[in-house]
Amino acid sequence: MDLSLNGEGGNSVTKQVETICITTGPIEYSEYVTLNIGPIHPAMHGTLRVITRTDGETIISAKPEIGYLHRGVEKLGENMSYAQFLPITDRLNYCSAICNNVAYEMAVEKLLGIEVPPKAQLIRMIMMELARIADHQVCVGILGVDLGALTPFFYLIIQREEIYEIFEWHHGARLTNSMGAIGGVEADLPDRFHEKWPKLRNTIRKANDETDRLLTHNRIWMDRTIGVNAFCADDALNWGFTGPMLRACGVGRDLRKDEPYLMYDKIKFDIPTGKHGDVFDRYMVRMLEMEESVKIIDQAYQLYKEFPDDAPLMKKVPKIIRPPEGQIYHAIESPNGELGFFIKSDGSDKPYRIKIRPPCYMVYQAFEDLVKGEMISDLIACLSSINVIAGELDR
């Protein structure tokens, strides 16, 4: 794997780190090599940068350096009205924008103290689970690409185009969805969804099946993933892990079950967990979660069909939203874990402070613990399996 210095940053961090190595390191440290990976590197998912020190191929330390995609989203939110901020939330985790939209909408609804109509809740759920499938597909596909298996990626991405088609029918955008509004969703499920879903669920299953057959019992895949950066549950909780990363360590924590929102409490589904918290478990958890998501959509769709066509989709909210003074925190289970919005209102039409709790931020800060003592190529596997999304990491 080509790990050349593919564009070291223009700021002084590299220089600093190097001087530290030279001046303060004990003598036996002098044989270690400082290797800068990123920020533009094919395996670095856009804008991540890790400064590693290696002994041969073994990693002695790995310092992640973030902020290359810090766009000032939180400051922007303070200068916008509540409704205007909704499209900005798309740009956080752009692999599953709908989850961000719904999380933000629900946080504002909690601030206003309203509850959306049940039919709108079901539509939100169906769309969120579709987004979850799309997100996991990208994650698994990219994990394969980074480990040298290009084929599953192509299977999965064709699959994902079909999910995007449904998004386009519903709210007109492929990636940055801006679905719904504060108080509900703007449109019913598209008519074509009713024909599409039975077919789509089969093709999703088929693509997963194919990926499963290509990867799971593949000798090379197993060698490269099983036992690679295993992590124990206590450490994971101490570091603030959530989502698939935590479930791979064996803690079956899922906000959809533990703090049910929308109508998740009416639906039966399992929470897949792993045992060792290694890359293989993370991959398996994600694969199984896609299956569960298909199940959830099936049941939610059944519930949805009970509602008449003209059931309300929007709760009446004032045009200019002025929530009462107060602060709330609301979290949902996004594909990567607990995605929370902390909003403080001062009674005006702009939020006083918005803080986003991105799930992969908490995971990525433990990166050094995760990869210490592993090989350089395992670092790549680890990074892909965390599914770090720079937009949400840096905000």
Binding site: L69, R71, K75, L76, C95
Partner: protein
């Protein structure tokens, strides 16, 4: 004879240019500089389904030394600008730049303290693609536009004066 051909709008020059342009426009190898959401759409455009390789962008170069087209897809923050400049400087001539998405073109929705307002002010851009994000079709269309631009280029003619000087010095 070659000298005369270079001096006028010679036949030889034109044919040589056509040959060069044919080669260049059929193989615009991209360097995907995907930083944010637009990078995901770029990924779609490169992968199966839209398959940018149909237009010659066959080999995705992951090193700036072996690519022709720098595709900047996503927000460029102020912290990232020096890196972008360095990547551009590392690319070998001839090089072209596509700015994908509102962020790369003009800063997009992020008019804040940390976002650079458009890469046009730090590196020369050949084709701007609007949209937030542009659809993969948009990216393909921009690539076709770029190919048109490459085909209309005069790689030798531009250097004519230099060549003449060199030849005269040699005389």
């Amino acid at each position: 004879m070659g000298f005369q051909a270079i001096q006028g709008e010679g036949w030889l020059l034109a044919k040589a240019e056509q040959l060069i342009n044919w080669g260049r426009s059929r193989s615009p190898w991209p360097f995907p500089y995907g930083t944010a959401c637009c990078g995901i759409e770029l990924m779609c455009a490169l992968a199966s389904g839209y398959d940018m390789a149909r237009f010659g962008a066959e080999r995705v170069a992951f090193t700036p030394r072996q690519c022709d087209v720098l595709i900047v897809a996503g927000t460029i923050t102020k912290k990232m600008v020096p890196v972008l400049k360095r990547i551009y400087a590392q690319m070998a001539e001839p090089k072209w730049v596509l700015a994908v998405g509102a962020c790369a073109c003009s800063g997009g929705v992020f008019r804040t303290y940390s976002t650079h307002q458009g890469i046009g002010s730090v590196i020369p851009v050949d084709v701007y693609i609007p949209g937030c994000p542009p659809r993969p079709e948009g990216i393909l269309y921009a690539l076709l536009k770029l190919i048109d631009k490459i085909e209309a280029d005069h790689p030798l003619y531009k250097q004519r004066s230099k060549v003449i000087e060199a030849l005269e010095a040699a005389k």
